[in-house]
Amino acid sequence: MSAGKLTFLPIADIELDRTNPRIRRFLENYEGEITNDRIALALDVAGGDDKDGTTTPAKLKNSILTNRGITQPIVVNKDTAGRLTCIEGNTRLYIYRSFVEEEVEGDWKMIPALLHEELGPSEVDAIRLQAHLVGPRPWDAYSKAKYLWELQYHELMPLEKIIAFCGGNRRDVTQAIQAYSDMESYYRPLCEADEFDTENYSGFVEVQNTKVKDAILRAGFTLTDFAQWLRDGKFKNRTGNRSLQHIRQLPQVLPNKTTRDLFLKKGIKAALDVADKPDLGSGLKNATIGQLARAITEAANSIPLEELRRLQEHPEDEAHRYIEDAMEALQYLTKQIQSGA
């Protein structure tokens, strides 16, 4: 495959790639005229917030707007008939088109592109595979936060500008910078150089939750105490593995002297076991583990959509922890059963 030529191409001359899997999976189920709006639907251009730190179309759109353009060229193939097809970067191309249509200020009629000529199907596949199945290696959460903090603290970039460059997600950006800053201020001083564990960064993300932070401060502790708990491994699950999501349960544990003392002596799991003895009716108490497992399966498979949405929108709901605890307990039980087989 040739290296391709870096150039600027008029967006009006480039066709969106209808054989692109993301577009095709939609078009295959769609009858009727293929309008721009339908292709936008296929590309999920209106997609909302991300849940796992991936780049959403909305974020990408905001970022392109702030940057006044794309930093990574799209990949275009010119076939023997001279037709230009975008084989990588269809969403970016669509966003440029929408800016022209919406008369967004700026020059959106030309797009940076890596232009290949007469690529065969296998070469097109190779480009798609590298772009979407291997992809660029994303930074880990700690490295992202460190970079954002440096931009703000050392490069003195205004926070609103950083947020705009990151696609407008002010909650994630501020949370990352604050978590990094807290980790440096409270955790690093407690560690020898070779003890500083960046995996504990997610603990500092958890503590940015106002309920959690307030519970720590209200109980008379400080973030230095919290950092010490992390260093001492107070947040472990039943199997002894680090389980930082249990930090969310501190508001249940810290206000009560018994559970607080248990937490300080034995860790979060011991405290939660006491804080949260389930109030079971006689029917549940007398059921066998097999009957309960079947009931859980039945309930999980037939959960109403409304309830599912409610759980998605309320990550603080206690049901999340009950489900995670049940899963953890069942996995542990399965292992025990299998080890004896």
């Binding site: 609103e160 002010r170 909650r171 604050q178 800053s181």
Partner: protein, 133 residues
Amino acid sequence: MSGESARHRFLVERLLDTVEIRHQGVRSVVIFADHHRFGSQLPPTIGDFTPDVLVTTVPATFRLIGEAKTRDDIETERSQRQLTAFLDHLSLHPPSSLWLAVPFDLAPRARVLIRSMRRVEHKDVNVEILPFV
């Protein structure tokens, strides 16, 4: 939009204008607000209540909660619980401020109400009543 929610929105907008004027040029300030100017992300929940505006520096060196109250909702039991929760929260994060945006003629009543709900642990929270015509 009902008359009541239009009045509330007016107060939130004046509150945001004031925040922007007073904190203009502070590089590390971030504003969360239940308003389209500040994106789709609401301020975080504080004690089961979502404030109209939350302003903080990042990293945190200052925190401000702004709340708009109209004649019809300032005296409700819910408002009292809400403002107490905000004062409780802010007292844990000094230096901090609570700004209450109210219609101009409601300012004296708002001052009385706020004084009645302040406890000794709230003493370091700076409270300002912002009256708007």
